[in-house]
Amino acid sequence: MSAIPLVPGGHIHEWHLPSRGRVGMYCLIIGESAIFTIFVVAYVFYIGKSLYGPTPQQVLDVPIFNTICLLSSSVTIWLAERAIERNSIRTFGIWWAATIALGLVFLTGTAIEWYKLIYRDGLTISTNLFGTTFYSLVGLHGTHVVVGLSMLLLVLIFTLTGHVRQEHSERIQVLALYWHFVDAVWVIVFTVVYIIGK
């Protein structure tokens, strides 16, 4: 069977389609946003509806330092993205490691906050509606931070063993998209939990 060329109906000069990695990650982000929306709606709906304490006003401290750390990790990962595009792998590694460090500081901060809430204030997930919605919303975000950090750590290991090169910048940027998303969600969680809900 031989191939007969078609008569072209107008020339097709260039054929560029969006990268599938980016499209896939954007789709995942849309889906994840819907999950967070449901948890945020539940949190907002139940503000002030707990029948007994402790209430957010009594026990919550605004985690400003934590927030600054997490949000600045978006800047450091962006610097890392720029570095790998320019093929300076060393700079990339430094900024990437800084991102991970900032993420770890955030997680540690959350751990300290939860320790205080559980052991000093006696607030657990089953205490009241505030406990249920607080731990599930902040915990859902924390889970995303943990997943993100594990992937970032994987890339760091590959960088240290010399497997990351400039041609991987596309993939690195797709992963960074996820991290930016995790940071952006924190802005909403922070606003809802520590500003509106308090």
């Binding site: 069977m1 896939g24 449901i38 707990s50 089953s126 406990g131």
Partner: protein
């Protein structure tokens, strides 16, 4: 026509001859596969298998309801069966059908060699299959602390607070929630994959406005799934937190709200109906033009209507909750938004009719199913508009009228067009035609059975028979109608068995199909049947919406008019 070979770029078969594999090797090759065609077939097999299982469950339900004071099933088993029937049909039949069709056909139609993420594709399928296993394992493993054979019995929407530990002890409800979380991840992966495939894998010249409507509808469908299956997952996580960690989300005694679950569930649940019906639209949009021998009427309007339905369907969920009690402003909003869906849907029906109008219609089996679909979908839409009127809804909600309405969509539209799609594309997947004679038997029996069952059901609903009742006293005037409904159900079951026989026997004895048995126009018909692993040896290039028409009619190609 059947042996026509199409000399399109990329249709060459370069597969080296292979030796016959043993059974174990064949099985192994299916388990480890990341090929979109094999995964598509696996999704379809899963869906058809569970269609038979859930069908058997509902036949038991119908025998139980056939006459008053019957004791064919115990009340407990009755509750489990209608819960499992609904859950299975939606999550293990409807959604796998979406991905079965999308997986097999979309890459072939857009001239791609595989999906965007083949391994994610395999992962998604196995998550769905694992979820199915979890759900059905509950029959033997869900006993928990009391009793044997304890499948979930909380209905497929599982209203709070029935699902609380206090009211649903044992593990059956946990299996239900976990199964939906697990299949939900599979669905999310599948949706991401279809979108990335359609956006990023189209062959040269396949612009979005040249893409077959099937691919368009699957794109919109997957977009809808992204934002509907995830709220369900979120709600199920909350339910598991409530059940396992003592959370208070739906605990009314701690100030929690059962209404919140209603909203969360139907934010998923109503768009889900559109998710399930989109493949039916997609199949109609391919089958009707081909068998009417005309290009689809109003292609841009069809695309716009599909996207429109997708958006509007996200804002109608609370029409499932008129009887729960909302503010009158809430009622008015959801009445109007629900009626709004009628507009793009109407556009679609008119365009399909206009495609048939003046065409040289060939009533082969796929076309028969699609024609019946048009009428039944219209009728279902009209009862839908009736139910969208809040006062009417207060009267008829939770009666058999509602069951008749949504089964008119689920069976009359979705199952009918699923059959159409299988008759239409199975020759591509297996290389053999299904029997036309058995196909006609299947169609007519199924059509007659369908109308006997579901037309009658509207009237039982008018007479006030509520849903979910296990049995009824003899003096309510429902006796004969219920018997008629059950007989119709059995006729449908016979038709489905004919279909199953037809499908299996066609694998061995079917007429050889050739590349293009229906003289169709989209790219999948240029590949051999079954297509080689790589689909197209060289990347195809297209210049119009009907690349194979251009090829068959070089003197009058489509691209001159588009």
């Amino acid at each position: 026509m059947a042996d026509r070979t199409l000399p399109i770029d990329g249709s060459l078969d370069l597969t080296p001859p292979r030796e016959r594999e043993g059974l174990l090797e064949t099985l192994h090759s299916w388990v480890i596969t990341v090929d979109h065609k094999k995964l598509g077939i696996m999704y379809m097999t899963l869906a058809i298998f569970f269609l038979l299982v859930a069908g058997a469950e509902v036949i038991c339900i119908r025998i139980q309801l056939a006459w008053p004071n019957n004791h064919f099933l115990s009340p407990q088993v009755f509750n489990r069966f209608f819960t499992m029937h609904g859950t299975t049909m939606v999550f293990l039949v409807g959604i796998p059908l979406v991905f079965g069709f999308a997986n097999y056909i979309v890459p072939l139609q857009i001239g791609a060699r595989d999906m965007a993420f083949p391994r994610l594709n395999a992962f998604s399928f196995w998550m769905t299959a694992f979820g199915a296993l979890l759900l059905y394992f509950s029959f033997i493993g869900g006993a928990g602390l009391y009793g044997m054979g304890n499948a979930p019995d909380v209905t497929w929407w599982a209203y709070a607070p029935l699902t609380a530990r206090a009211f649903s002890p044992g593990n059956a409800t946990d299996y239900w929630a976990l199964a939906l979380i697990v299949t939900g991840f599979g669905t999310l992966g599948g949706a991401v994959n279809v979108i990335a495939t359609v956006i990023s894998m189209r062959c040269k010249g396949m612009t979005l406005m040249r893409m077959p409507l099937f691919a368009w509808l699957m794109l919109v469908d997957s977009g809808l799934l992204l934002v509907t299956i995830t709220p369900l997952t979120a709600a199920q996580i909350m339910l598991v937190i409530d059940r396992y960690l003592g959370g208070r989300f739906f605990d009314t005694q701690a100030g929690g709200s059962a209404m919140l679950w209603f909203h969360f569930f139907w934010i998923f649940g109503h768009p889900e109906v559109y998710v399930l019906v989109f493949p039916a639209f997609a199949i109609a949009s391919e089958v009707i033009p081909v068998f009417s021998r005309k290009a689809i009427f109003g292609y841009p309007a069809m695309v716009a209507a599909s996207v429109g339905i997708g958006f509007v369907s996200l804002g109608v969920w609370a029409h499932h909750m008129f009887t729960v009690g909302m503010t009158s402003a809430g009622n008015a909003f959801f009445v109007l938004s629900t009626m709004l869906v009628g507009i793009p849907t109407g556009i679609k029906i008119f365009n399909w009719l206009a495609t048939m109008w003046g065409g040289k219609i060939r009533f082969r089996t796929p076309m028969l199913f699609c024609t019946a679909f048009l009428f039944q979908f219209l009728a279902a839409g009209l009862t839908g508009i009736m139910l969208a009127v809040a006062p009417w809804n207060w009267q008829l909600h939770n009666s058999y009228f509602v069951i008749a309405h949504f089964h008119y969509i689920l069976v009359g539209a979705i199952v009918f067009n699923t059959f159409a799609g299988i008759y239409y594309w199975l020759p591509k997947a297996t290389g053999r035609m299904m029997s036309e004679k058995l196909g006609k038997w299947h169609f007519w029996l199924f059509l007659i059975g369908f109308h006997i069952t579901f037309d009658t059901m509207h009237f039982v609903g008018f007479e006030g028979m509520p849903r979910w009742i296990y049995t009824y006293p003899a003096d309510r005037g429902w006796n004969h109608l219920n018997l008629v409904i059950s007989i119709g159900g059995i006729i449908q079951a016979v038709a489905v068995l004919i279909f199953a026989y037809n499908l299996i026997s066609s694998l061995f004895r079917g007429e050889i199909a050739g590349n293009d048995p229906w003289d169709a126009w989209t790219l999948e018909w240029s590949a051999s049947s079954p297509p080689p692993d790589y689909n197209f040896a060289t990347d195809p290039v297209v210049h119009s919406r009907r690349p194979l028409w251009d090829l068959k009619h070089p003197e009058d190609p489509d691209w001159k008019y588009e």
